[in-house]
């Protein structure tokens, strides 16, 4: 099997719902019965005929035992080649108002028609008429001077050269316009239509061939292209008359139907994903090759014999194989494409059986062959379906590509985002590791020494010792503040304030000052993504200084820190921190002075915070209005 053929079959359009097996089998059989019925119905539609008053049916056949009567249409079995002479008659009107013609709708193999002893029509002049598989009709105008008023003599010389028995359909003699109409229909049906179908086949063969050429793994396409090309070639080749090398080729080509049916069988197998062994391939193509060789070597007669045997049985076998394969596939897969292929096989089988019956003489009064046309139509439809599916596959590839492009874009975006995240993470990690390093250094060195100073100062006692102890504690506090400010708090100032509160509460406890914590809005302070450690250090030191001032000067019992977000109009919410004490304010000083306050203002200014100071008899109140966005670099004072 060609593994590549698998997707071709597997990619078939599934029916909307998968039917249960038994129900589907029943349905499929009913559908095939309908297809057969429709075929027979279409075939049984009578071909346009000029009207029975112009029909000439009664003939006398000249034979060795004297003349015998015959009624057209008639079949003439017997040895070939031979010539059959028929004598008929018709009545012409006394006065001719228009041209009269003679029409022979169907004849095998060729006919020469004489009116009053003069040849008016010889079908052999049109070479394609000689093809027995073509349902050729022919007509000719009867020269006016030949016609006699009253009864006229009509003779037919029917040439039969096999392999089919001789056949002559009802002859028509009458006004040219009426006969030509009927003849025109037949030309359209049996001449023009096959050419049109064959042209389609040529185009499809080309398209499929190119597809196969560009995609060698699609063997099914290549095989179908070959079958179509062969079929088209046969349509356009004229049958040979004389023995010549060209005639041999022609004979081979015309006798190539078995080769074509072999190719069809191979196509079906490939399309349905069957295993294709070299032996099977050789067997399927052998009859066709034998006929071709016979045609090339032995000329038309040999080709003709070879076509009958083994050509016809091979074709029947191939078609049977195709029907078997497609119906099995339809029942197994239950998809639209398999059902369509099976129905096409049914149509072909119906037509072929009918044609075989015709040839065998079971249907004596007609000789219209339908298989070729049905085959051409089915091939065209099959090719169109394949092209359709190819285009659908291209669409799928397109949408797949589109999906891929969008997926790649998404992935790129994600990657970019993750790069940015990674950068951020790296930055945070670098900061954290730097902070850890610093912490360790301070811990091991400065921190330990400061703690020792605190302990020694306490032990030494006295006011001096207490001062030293307080200074060392203050240094330790500052150390903790710096370390804390370096922590990655993702712009949430509240997290820095939380640790500050703890330190400050511990610091205030010996002074008997309470620290109250009062959120003014539910969310607390807004988050500032741009917040950097230096902002935090400035703010916390500012707060520390405010607390120091209170401790030193205010004689307060409580410090209240309140904070919240406030929105002024349309702008984003801005944070505010208020530190208020319940001391006696800057008593006696109209404008508060001092290094502490100047420092606080400077710190506030550096990071864009506006500071306002209210002092009254019930305490000092420092209000810090945070900027909407903290500056990237320090604002110079």
């Amino acid at each position: 099997m060609s593994a590549e053929a698998q997707p071709a079959g597997a990619g078939a359009t599934p029916l909307p719902a998968r039917w249960p097996r038994r129900r589907f089998a029943l349905l499929h059989l009913s559908l095939q019965a309908v297809v057969v019925g429709l075929c027979l119905l279409v075939i049984s539609i009578p071909l346009p005929a000029p009207g029975s008053r112009y029909a000439v049916r009664e003939a006398t056949v000249a034979g060795p035992d004297g003349p015998t009567p015959a009624l057209l249409p008639a079949t003439f079995p017997g040895s070939t080649p031979r010539r059959i002479n028929l004598a008929l008659s018709f009545t012409a009107p006394d006065r001719l108002t228009e041209e009269w013609s003679v029409l022979t709708p169907r004849f095998t193999n060729a006919a020469q028609i004489l009116v009053n002893g003069v040849v008016v029509l010889d079908t052999r002049r049109n070479a394609s008429n000689n093809r027995p598989d073509r349902n050729a009709a022919d007509m000719a105008v009867i020269p006016a001077q030949l016609l006699r008023p009253g009864v006229n003599e009509l003779s037919v010389r029917l040439y039969v050269w096999g392999p089919l028995s001789g056949f002559l359909d009802t002859l028509y003699v009458g006004p040219d316009s009426i006969l030509r109409d009927a003849w025109g229909w037949r030309v359209l049906l049996f001449d023009a239509l096959p050419v049109v179908l064959s042209s389609w086949q040529v185009i499809l063969a080309l398209v499929l061939g190119i597809m196969w050429f560009k995609r060698r793994q699609e063997t099914a396409y290549g095989v179908l292209a070959a079958a179509m090309a062969l079929g088209a070639l046969r349509t356009f080749l004229i049958p040979p008359e004389q023995v010549s090398w060209l005639a041999g080729i022609r004979a081979a080509a015309i006798g190539s139907a078995p080769l074509e049916s072999g190719l069809m069988l191979l196509f079906c197998m490939l399309f349905l994903g069957r295993r294709l062994t070299p032996l099977f391939t050789a067997l399927a193509l052998a009859p066709g090759v034998i006929i071709a060789v016979a045609g090339l070597a032995g000329g038309p007669d040999m080709a003709r014999q070879a076509f009958i045997w083994p050509g016809l049985p091979a074709m029947a076998l191939c078609l049977g194989g195709v029907a078997w394969l497609t119906h099995r596939a339809a029942l197994a897969r239950r998809d639209l494409v398999s059902v369509l292929l099976a129905s096409a096989a049914t149509v072909l089988a119906t037509c072929l059986i009918r044609d075989v019956l015709t040839i065998a003489g079971a249907l004596p009064h007609q000789r219209i062959f339908v298989t070729r046309m049905a085959y051409a139509a089915v091939m065209t439809v099959t090719g169109a379906c394949l092209t359709w599916r190819f285009a659908s596959a291209l669409n799928e590839v397109d949408s797949f590509a589109g999906r891929l492009v969008s997926q790649v874009r998404e992935a790129e975006d994600k990657l970019r985002a993750s790069f940015a995240r990674e950068e951020q993470r790296k930055h945070a990690a670098a900061l954290a590791s730097e902070r850890a390093r610093l912490t360790r250094d301070l811990h091991d060195g400065l921190g330990g020494q400061l703690v020792s100073i605190v302990a020694l100062a306490e032990r030494s006692g006295g006011a001096h010792g207490a001062q030293i102890g307080e200074a060392a504690r203050s240094a330790l506090r500052d150390l903790r503040l710096v370390i804390d400010a370096m922590d990655d708090i993702d712009g949430d100032l509240m997290l820095a304030l939380g640790a500050w509160r703890e330190r400050t509460a511990a610091r205030l406890r010996p002074h008997d000052i309470r620290l109250d914590w009062q959120p003014l809005s539910p969310g607390g302070l807004p988050v500032h993504q741009e917040l950097r450690p230096w902002h935090v250090i400035q703010l916390l030191r500012l707060l520390d200084e405010a607390v120091t001032n209170t401790v030193k000067h205010a004689n307060a019992g409580c410090i209240t820190v309140s904070f919240g977000s406030f929105s002024d109009g349309d702008g984003p919410a801005r944070g505010r921190i208020i530190i208020a004490d319940d001391g006696h304010g800057f008593s006696g000083q109209a404008t508060p002075q001092g290094r502490g306050l100047d420092n606080m203002r400077r710190r506030a200014g550096r990071c864009g915070v506006s500071l306002s100071l209210d002092s009254g008899p019930d305490g000092v109140r420092v209000t810090l209005d945070l900027p909407a966005r903290f500056p990237e670099t320090e604002i110079p004072a």
């Binding site: 811990h443 921190g447 330990g448 939380g498 959120p519």
Partner: protein, 231 residues
């Protein structure tokens, strides 16, 4: 050193007093801490200046509270905490930290400490903190709370040290930690979360317990070995 049932059973101090084993190598600091505790009634204090001494003291009797520095001349305080935790599950363990930085405190918590004390804390605070601890109130700082919740909310990062298993923390516990990190008092947090104020310290102790690395501190040990945590 093997733990005997008698050891673990003797955690309850006689006459209601609190037995404290103080392990600190810096003599002035040790003296300061001892004085802070001794000045308050109800404390029985034993001192050690190194790991070996601390172990000897532990062999003698079980303390109610182990108060230990991390940097000891003959070993890591982390090992001492781990051993004490294994031998005396009912003993409270507190680490003495210079800076209260999360690296050292978290390392101590992960081996079984349930609190920390700043070395320069005021004497009254020192005694009060130890009392609170014995009463079941584990102290937690805002920066430690911040460290834990931020670690809990980040993707697990294998490279992050010290390792901290925050997976077992409940959303409520994380809420409490957030409140502490943002500087709110237990009363504020309790009111905000609809808890009783008294239950908050219990939650914090539970948080500490959940953060303990039970497999004998392998992760921490490994980190120490690699020099990633310098205690």
């Amino acid at each position: 050193m093997t733990a005997t049932p008698a050891d673990t059973g003797s955690a309850s101090a006689p006459s209601g007093g609190i037995t404290v084993l103080l392990v600190e190598d810096d003599a002035p600091t040790r003296g300061r801490l001892r004085d802070a505790l001794a000045s308050e009634p109800g404390f029985t204090i034993r001192e050690a200046g190194a790991m070996a001494e601390a172990r000897a003291a532990l062999d003698q009797s079980a303390p109610d509270v182990l108060l230990t520095d991390l940097q000891l001349p003959d070993g890591h305080g982390v090992d001492l905490i781990r051993e004490t935790r294994a031998r005396f599950p009912r003993a409270e363990i507190m680490v003495i930290s210079i800076l209260g930085d999360e690296e050292s405190v978290i390392a101590a918590i992960s081996v079984g400490a349930t609190g920390y004390l700043l070395k320069d804390a005021f004497p009254t605070d020192i005694a009060a903190t130890v009392r609170d601890l014995v009463a079941g109130h584990s102290p937690i700082s805002a920066s430690i709370a911040r460290f834990i919740v931020r670690r809990a909310q980040r993707e697990p990062d294998a490279a992050a040290r010290p390792q901290l298993n925050t997976a077992r923390l409940t959303p409520r516990e994380i809420d409490i930690l957030w409140g502490i990190a943002k500087g709110f008092s237990y009363a504020d947090i309790a009111a905000h979360l609809g808890l009783s104020r008294q239950t908050v310290p219990g939650h914090i102790k539970s948080i500490y317990r959940k953060l303990e690395v039970n497999t004998r501190g392998e992760a921490v040990f490994e980190a120490v070995q690699q020099g990633l945590i310098k205690l």
